[in-house]
């Protein structure tokens, strides 16, 4: 009988030990960091592209449905391309599953669901709500920025307090950007602000993570 409170460890067979060793020795941490960084740089660029295209298309008089058709078509392709890249590079594979690819695809699906719901709500409130800066900020920028923050927090191993502190700074920056867009900057600078806000965090997270590799 074992000591009370101490669970007996399961026996490890030779084939399992060999498989464990083989998998563990194939894990290349610097390569994985670079790949993660690259994937998130792509994510940041894609986010910036989407935000910019929204502003450009709406400024050109293209309807929201066209923007969403573009978003739904292009963005998942870019994300899946990045995930596929992560999956194809040896050393990223772990336990027969590309962990990072699975995370990114899951994140993209959650994001798509959030955006879909937000669009429906905004549409239900009336088309004018969609065109407002607030609608854009909540529908396009915030989910991406939030996902970027969560990813940054995970990659960098930030503590919970520091993550919330960074989140607070982001919220203040977003509010300042909103005021700036509405005020002195005017419509012409919208594309830049949205691109920066949407893509900046994941892009910087990717660059920073790659440099650490």
């Amino acid at each position: 009988m074992g000591v009370l409170g101490e669970a007996a460890e399961p026996k490890l067979g030779l084939p399992d030990a060999l498989t464990t060793i083989e998998r563990a020795l194939a894990y290349d941490a610097p390569l994985r960091r670079r790949t993660e960084g690259l994937t998130w740089i792509l994510f940041g660029l894609a986010s910036a592209l989407v935000a910019t295209s929204y502003v450009s298309l709406t400024a050109a008089g293209v309807s929201w449905s066209a923007f969403y058709a573009l978003w739904l078509g292009v963005y998942p392709l870019i994300v899946l391309g990045g995930a596929l890249l992560a999956w194809r590079i040896p050393g990223v594979l772990h336990g027969g599953v590309a962990l990072e690819a699975r995370r990114i695809v899951t994140g993209a699906l959650v994001l798509a669901a959030v955006l879909f719901v937000q669009t429906e709500v905004a549409w239900w409130r009336g088309p004018s709500a969609l065109g407002s800066a607030f609608g854009t900020m909540s529908a396009v920028v915030v989910p991406w920025a939030f996902l970027g923050l969560v990813q940054w927090s995970r990659l960098s191993g930030l503590g919970r307090r520091l993550t919330w502190a960074v989140g607070g700074v982001m919220a203040v920056t977003a509010a300042a950007a909103l005021l700036w867009v509405e005020g002195p900057a005017g419509e012409a600078d919208d594309a830049f602000v949205f691109a920066l806000a949407a893509g900046g965090i994941p892009f910087l997270a990717g660059v920073w993570h790659s440099l650490r590799a």
Binding site: E9, A17, A24, L25, Y27, L99, G157, L162
Partner: protein, 97 residues
């Protein structure tokens, strides 16, 4: 005989990943081995108590991160473990105990 400290699924995985990469953050190690924080922490503690790995905090530009490094003793004992595995596989192929 296989080293009882190393011959456990999670500890073997943690030590082998560290043997390959030498130094890794706790978060990376936990994710690489698909373990929970508690599980990874308790097994790393056992490895550290046996002197096979050494934990410490490193400033990485934003925060002090917990990192683990494989020790010389750890690398030596892991190589000895691999030799013992090879011997066992060879013996199994030759049909002797």
């Amino acid at each position: 005989m296989l080293d009882p400290v190393i011959h456990q699924q999670n500890r073997l995985q943690l030590l082998a990943v560290l043997y390959r990469n030498r130094v890794m953050s706790f978060t990376e190690l936990r994710d690489a081995c698909a373990l929970t924080s508690g599980n990874a922490g308790s097994h790393l503690e056992k490895l550290e108590q046996a002197g096979l790995v050494k934990g410490g905090r490193l400033f990485t530009g934003l925060s002090f991160e917990l990192h683990y490094r494989i020790t010389e003793v750890g690398a030596e004992r892991f190589r000895a473990y691999l030799e013992e595995i090879k011997r066992l596989v060879g013996a199994a192929e030759a049909g002797r105990p």
